[in-house]
Symmetry: C2
Subunit: 194 residues, 2 copies
């Protein structure tokens, strides 16, 4: 086997471990928590289904999906921090190291491409990254909404925190941001969170 294919296969085998990274949000139709592979698959499908709600329709959807497919690979080494963490600096440092390690398995040109996708996603400057972020944020909000806010209650999350930390959704989709506000209001109205 040539050296290039060997590196690519080493990467393909190693990323299997993302299936062991358990997230902090429950699935839509189950009491189980989902893992990062399931999450990455789900939001990639959502990116296709909900594309008409992107603020910008002239973006490269393939690039969006590539970002979503690989955005959580850094967690193989860094682990999954709760979204409302107070350890933001530690998280960023660990994820940076995680990116070096996981994407460093690939041949140099692909390492640069994949690391670039992850950095673009994190920086949320390009319209593709802004739309990709919408799906990554929307999924756990929807999951919590359909699970009667159970993980928000568990972690003492308020509606103010949810709306504040997720307002970047509107940079990618005004329409889906409106839908998020409706879901959060309803959970508050039902007395589940403050």
């Amino acid at each position: 086997m040539n050296e290039r294919l060997k590196k690519q296969i080493d990467f393909i085998r190693e990323i299997d471990r993302i299936k062991d990274i358990i997230r902090k949000s429950k699935r839509f139709k189950s009491d189980l928590y989902e893992n990062d592979a399931e999450h990455s698959w789900h939001i990639s499908v959502m990116a296709v289904v909900l594309f008409e709600y992107s603020n910008r329709k002239d973006i490269d959807l393939l690039r969006v999906i590539k970002m979503l497919l690989v955005h959580d690979l850094v967690e193989i080494h860094a682990g999954d921090y709760i979204f409302y963490t107070d350890k933001q600096a530690e998280k960023e440092q660990k994820e940076k190291e995680g990116a070096e390690r996981i994407f460093g398995l690939l041949p140099e040109d692909q390492k640069m491409e994949f690391k670039g996708l992850w950095e673009e996603f994190e920086a949320r400057v390009t319209p593709e990254a802004k739309y990709a972020r919408v799906l990554d944020r929307l999924e756990p909000i929807m999951q919590n909404y359909y699970n009667d806010g159970s993980d928000w209650v568990k972690h003492k999350i308020t509606s103010g925190m949810i709306l504040d930390r997720n307002s970047i959704i509107k940079d990618g989709s005004e329409e889906l941001w409106e839908h998020v506000q409706t879901m959060v209001s309803e959970i508050v109205r039902r007395g589940i969170i403050e």
Copy 2:
């Protein structure tokens, strides 16, 4: 919420059930069997990483990935048949019904798009479908190879069956087909399967 978004969300919630469909092949780095969501994620990443080995480089990779993301949704109703099944007709009928049910949750235009992607994948006529098939077939072969052929042994699969049923890989990638033949030969040489 408008009727269209409601249908899209119903679909997004329902496909969560694909995470309960357990496949017949073990993961790369674990003794666990993977589920259809994990599988669909993994082969979508593989489609990006291994794209240079596609016989045709002028194909639409976004279309390939869309096929891979949704190709197993029919199993929510049909279940996962072992690949070397002798119940091929029953499997096809159940999957056709499964496609109607799952994609039928979407607004009509998206139902047609997603059903079309699934039919294109099944028909394996377009170059996109031929390349998509490569990844879907390659993953379980690699998983078995790195698990010392354990599921092949369990189901009494011979090298002749593997090479016969998977020879369509070469229609999408001559180079990866060569790699498959090497892996199978080695497992035979080691006396694990016939």
